[in-house]
């Protein structure tokens, strides 16, 4: 109230002083906010930096008490150990990374192949109980994996899919499918259906219209969706640990978790393999940063 009176009365002195005071308050507040953000960011990224540091430290420095933040010897031995076995040749970890690439890649491909047409059909056609169908599809994704894995384990045992890459690919496809359909439906909705109508007036069939006119416009959306599906299967742990056991099949998450099973834990190796494991995810996530909100909410929230 007082300020509005001040401003209403023309007077260069009083106005100048208010502005200066407000400017000071604003600057102080801004500084506090920046400091707060810095502290929060620091505590958030500290663990990541510590992981990076640990991965290049030597054995003694890793266990040093008090912890060494600076002045440690840098070694790349742990990274070498991730890929190369002690006696030479390929290490077990590198095999599991390869398995992860194969499993995540094929399940993403399958989910995209099945999900994109379904998303298009859900977007374009009037179907019976469409909303219920879509909600049903998304709710399968919310099932607790530990619960689902019990009957899936028994089912796979009957079908001989236990400890096979195919088994993992199938279950990963099933859990990426709801996401792919929801995410892609959003992208298809953004393409006007008039394009297809126009093409059909020109004599194309509906299918041709989809393939020649809508599909090319969907490519960026498909790429973003596939990248998220890739990240989800890459990071998946529960199905992997219960449905696979042998070295030749096991993916990276259970393999990395297995590093702490013994009596002594080589934390340098754990950190190095964690970095190697996380790096592609961070790069991919950066590539799809525009779609992150939709991606992490399984396509449910779009902005």
């Amino acid at each position: 109230m007082a300020i509005s009176v001040d401003d209403a009365v023309p007077g260069p002195v009083s106005r100048g002083s208010t502005r200066a005071r407000r400017g000071n308050v604003g600057r102080a507040r801004s500084a506090i906010e920046i400091a707060l953000l810095a502290v929060l960011l620091g505590s958030s990224l500290f663990a990541v930096l510590w992981m990076l540091q640990t991965s290049v430290k030597t054995g003694q420095d890793i266990y040093a008490v008090p912890a060494k933040f600076l002045g440690f010897d840098v070694t790349l031995q742990h990274y070498k150990d991730v890929f190369v076995a002690p006696g030479g040749g390929r290490s077990d970890l590198s095999q599991s990374f390869l398995n992860s690439v194969v499993v995540a890649g094929s399940s993403t491909l399958l989910a995209t192949l099945l999900g994109v047409p379904a998303a298009w059909a859900y977007s374009r056609f009037t179907l019976k109980a469409k909303k219920d169908q879509l909600f049903f599809i998304l709710s399968t994704r919310f099932m607790p994996p530990v619960v689902v894995v019990i009957p899936v384990f028994l089912m796979y045992r009957e079908l001989g899919l236990i400890d096979t890459r195919l088994g993992l690919v199938l279950i990963y496809t099933a859990f990426n499918l709801p996401f792919t359909i929801w995410m892609m439906k959003g992208f298809v909705d953004e393409v006007p259906s008039e394009y297809e109508d126009a093409a059909m007036l020109d004599g194309y069939t509906r299918l041709q219209a989809f393939r020649k006119f809508t599909l090319p416009l969907l490519v960026p959306g498909i790429a973003a969706t596939a990248v998220f599906a890739l990240i989800f299967s890459w990071n998946e742990f529960v199905y992997a640990i219960f449905l696979t056991s042998s070295q030749g099949v096991r993916t990276a998450p259970p393999a990395i978790a297995g590093l702490i099973g013994g009596t002594t834990v080589n934390w340098g190796l754990v950190a190095a393999s964690a970095v190697v494991f996380a790096l592609p995810v961070l790069v991919f996530a950066y590539l799809v940063r525009k779609h992150l909100v939709a991606g992490v909410t399984l396509g449910a929230v779009r902005r």
Partner: protein
């Protein structure tokens, strides 16, 4: 582009679409052909296993025995619902979910609010804050296990250098659950932040301008413009996180393995022990079905709300 548009015109002139066939009907066939493969896979990999679990939940089947197990009616359900072991885990789960989600919401919203007030460097800040969320829970769990180690962990090392007492983060009953909440919060605060930020940046500028013309106080603006505009989206994020926290297994498995004692055993972890360590498959199925019911209720709430938001 020109050729692709020209071509159909010529084609259409030469070959007009055959009359008599209703496009509606063909659309229907196309829709079925496009949707059914996806639906079949979901039915086979998600619905069928759950139905199988439902069947097993009425038997005393064990995955290690060869027999099919005999029918026991609702005995498994009664056992699970009356077991004090399960009650303890339910309480632990409730504490974990409530604690983690509350902390994440407060922190995530605060960070989003602070970022939204910056004019420069928003993109970079957001990207940096998001890093923990993209990591696999296994990596997160392993790493915090290392950092929270009572002897050589860096967290205690920092505490000591600040003149504080070291804490037995993961080896004491009371602190272990707290540590679990802390690590989950570390990983998932960015999730709430991301959604809240989407809401905050979507608030139309003219609202704030109108408020500043009216000389509304900062608090008034926050209370009457920012919060109501962001709240619907924030609630979506909170419900999403609650479901995820309820399902959480990876982090418990890697960080504390349920211990010390059973102090960090959540329902997800306990059902795993019953199924894969106790081999009481029938009982575990009943346990699992009950958990699925909880998730279905939560997911329904979430989806209803989402639907309302989309229509409104």
């Amino acid at each position: 582009m020109t050729t692709s548009i020209d071509a159909p015109v010529e084609e259409a002139a030469a070959l007009p679409p055959p009359p008599g066939r209703t496009p509606r009907l063909r659309d229907r066939g196309l829709a079925v052909a496009f949707i059914s493969p996806a639906m079949l896979l979901l039915l086979g990999m998600s619905v069928f296993p759950l139905l199988w679990a439902l069947y097993l939940s009425f038997t005393d089947y064990s995955a290690t025995s060869s027999g099919p197990g005999s029918f026991v009616g609702f005995e498994n359900y009664a056992d699970v619902l009356t077991s004090s072991e399960v009650h303890t885990r339910a309480l632990t789960t409730a504490l974990f979910v409530a604690g983690a989600v509350a902390l994440q919401t407060v922190l995530g919203f605060s960070i989003a609010y602070l970022i939204s007030r910056r004019t420069r460097g928003r993109g970079l800040l957001t990207t940096l804050f998001l890093v923990p969320m993209m990591l696999s829970p296994v990596v997160v769990g392993l790493f915090w296990r290392f950092m929270l180690d009572a002897q050589f962990g860096v967290v205690n090392s920092l505490l000591v250098s600040l003149g504080l007492e070291p804490v037995e983060w993961l080896t004491q009953q009371r602190t272990a659950l707290f540590s679990l909440i802390l690590v989950d919060t570390w990983q998932w605060t960015p999730f709430i932040m991301l959604i809240a930020l989407a809401g905050l940046t979507a608030v139309p500028k003219y609202l704030y301008e109108a408020a500043s013309i009216d000389r509304a106080s900062e608090w008034f603006r926050f209370r009457n413009i920012t919060l109501p505009m962001v709240w619907p989206l924030l609630l979506i994020a909170v419900m999403f996180r609650a479901i995820e926290a309820f399902r959480q297994f990876d982090l418990v498995y890697v960080l504390t393995n349920g211990g010390p004692g059973v102090s960090t055993e959540t329902l997800s972890f306990h059902v795993y022990k019953v199924a894969f360590l106790g081999f009481r498959t029938g009982a575990a199925s009943a346990y699992g079905i009950l958990m699925v019911l909880v998730v279905i209720v939560l997911a329904q709430l979430y989806l209803r709300y989402l639907n309302k938001l989309k229509e409104g």
